[in-house]
């Protein structure tokens, strides 16, 4: 059984169909890079996986638990699946330490001292131990995004979702964030990332998903898909982003 099983999922915003019968399995340890134009539904697909967006049809299960079911404890599910957003969404009124320790102490009832140890550990993984007592507005965009990643990791999720996490960053800052993700990839974390960084998708992705108009139009091993697109849509897309 796959870690994530998405079956025939349909998502509509009013009369606009954003996901049109999408099915996808993600196995443990896989690194899925989701690519496609703006509005192709890739971010929405990611957000459906941890229940941030309700769906109108189909089923999504994570670790055997149905996401889109009123009886499912979304709080529990979200401890399994971390998500990092394009706009970081750190809590501006809290220090870096508190941003990270809030959920472990409140949701998991971990003692403050232990939570701080976890915070130091995850900050070490993103290379920002020295910023533990800083506030978000004192950090650069790249540093804020790395703290956001650390904050997610502190909940020890089974899987991480990354929603265009370098899109809001200056080019010279994207490298430090991508490096953090590469380190995580090497540690065996299951990941799904929506990205516009094709070279990065090719380098770390075990599989690439190309979405077009709410459907998965093409998928396969990263190197193969990106080198030899089968559909004209993917070819057009790749030409547009690579040149």
């Amino acid at each position: 059984m796959s870690l994530v099983e998405i079956r025939d999922v349909t998502k509509r915003f009013g009369s606009l169909t954003v996901l049109d019968g999408v099915s996808l399995d993600i196995d443990e340890g896989e690194i899925i890079a989701i690519i496609g134009r703006s509005g192709s539904g890739k971010s929405t697909l990611l957000r459906c996986i941890n229940g941030l967006e309700p769906v109108q049809g189909g089923t999504i299960t994570v670790g055997g638990v149905r996401v889109n079911d009123a009886k499912t404890d979304l709080k529990k599910l979200r401890q399994q699946v971390g998500i990092v957003f394009q706009s970081y969404n750190l809590f501006p009124h809290l220090s870096v330490a508190r941003n990270i320790t809030l959920a472990p102490t409140v949701v998991k009832n971990i003692a403050p001292a232990e939570a701080r140890r976890i915070a130091l550990d995850v900050l070490h993984r993103v290379g920002l131990e020295d910023k533990i007592d800083a506030y978000p507005q004192q950090l650069s965009g790249g540093q804020q995004q790395r703290v956001a990643i650390a904050r997610s990791l502190a909940m020890q999720p089974k899987m991480m979702l990354f929603d265009e996490i370098t899109s809001a960053l200056d080019p010279e800052l994207t490298g430090e964030v991508l490096k953090v993700i590469e380190d995580m990839a090497r540690s065996g974390m299951t990941m799904a990332l929506v990205t516009h960084e094709m070279a990065f998708a090719r380098r770390i992705g075990t599989r690439v998903i190309f979405m077009h108009q709410g459907k998965i139009r093409e998928q396969g091993p990263a190197a193969e898909i990106l080198a030899r697109p089968k559909t004209p849509e993917l070819e057009t897309f790749l030409n547009a982003v690579l040149h």
Partner: protein, 216 residues
């Protein structure tokens, strides 16, 4: 017997300020408690709660405070409940304040970006935890200037309690007028005393607004 308006009358008026203040504080406490519930109901995910709170706010804001005051003071006694002036005044002013504070605080809660709720939710925080640790601490900053601004309205409106015989500053003014027959002097003094109460609050509200706008 008509007598002169003298310094001793001014002292009586100044002494009556304490009841204006007590009534203001009580109404702010009561109104704040109900207002907080109203504000949270207004942002809850459960639609009927939002409607109920919205209807309450509309009803109270669409009714003169004087009427609410009379309903409590005269209305309840019809049902055999003897209501003392101070109880009726506190209840009516609390309800009045709760609707306005509820709206001010709803606005403050809604001014926090939806992404902050999402970030909290994605980490496994529930609705109450998101409010307590993420949303409210940020909303408080936004809400302080208008809350202090509303306090000015509340202090001034405690004067309506004079109509049901609660002896605060305005009522003391009426009594002084009755015995000195110098309404102009007396009410000018009363007005000036209200101004002395409200002016610092207005300035404080402005200062807080500037302070929080600068920091962002």
């Amino acid at each position: 017997m008509i007598r002169e308006f003298t310094l001793i009358d001014v002292f009586y008026l100044v002494a009556a300020i304490r009841w204006t203040l007590v009534l203001s504080v009580a109404a702010f406490a009561g109104g704040g408690a109900i207002g907080l519930v109203v504000a949270i109901m207004r942002v809850s995910a459960f639609a009927p709660l939002r409607w109920l709170a919205a209807a309450y706010v509309q009803l109270v804001q669409g009714t003169p405070l004087l009427c609410i005051l009379f309903v409590f003071f005269f209305g309840l006694s019809i049902f055999g409940l003897p209501v003392q002036a101070w109880i009726a005044a506190t209840l009516a002013l609390s309800i009045y304040a709760s609707a306005f504070l509820g709206e001010i605080w709803r606005g403050a809660l809604q001014s926090i970006p939806k992404t902050q709720w999402e970030a909290g939710g994605a980490l496994g925080l529930g609705f109450a935890e998101q409010l307590r640790y993420v949303i409210v601490p940020q909303a408080v900053r936004v809400s302080i200037p208008p809350t202090v601004g509303f306090l000015v309205q509340l202090v001034k409106n405690t004067s309506l309690a004079a109509t049901i015989g609660f002896i605060e500053l305005a009522r003391e003014g009426q009594l002084t007028t009755a015995s000195t027959f110098q309404p102009f002097t007396v009410y000018c003094t009363v007005a000036f005393l209200y101004f002395l109460l409200c002016f610092p609050l207005t300035q404080l509200s402005r200062a807080l607004e500037r302070k929080y706008n600068v920091v962002g």
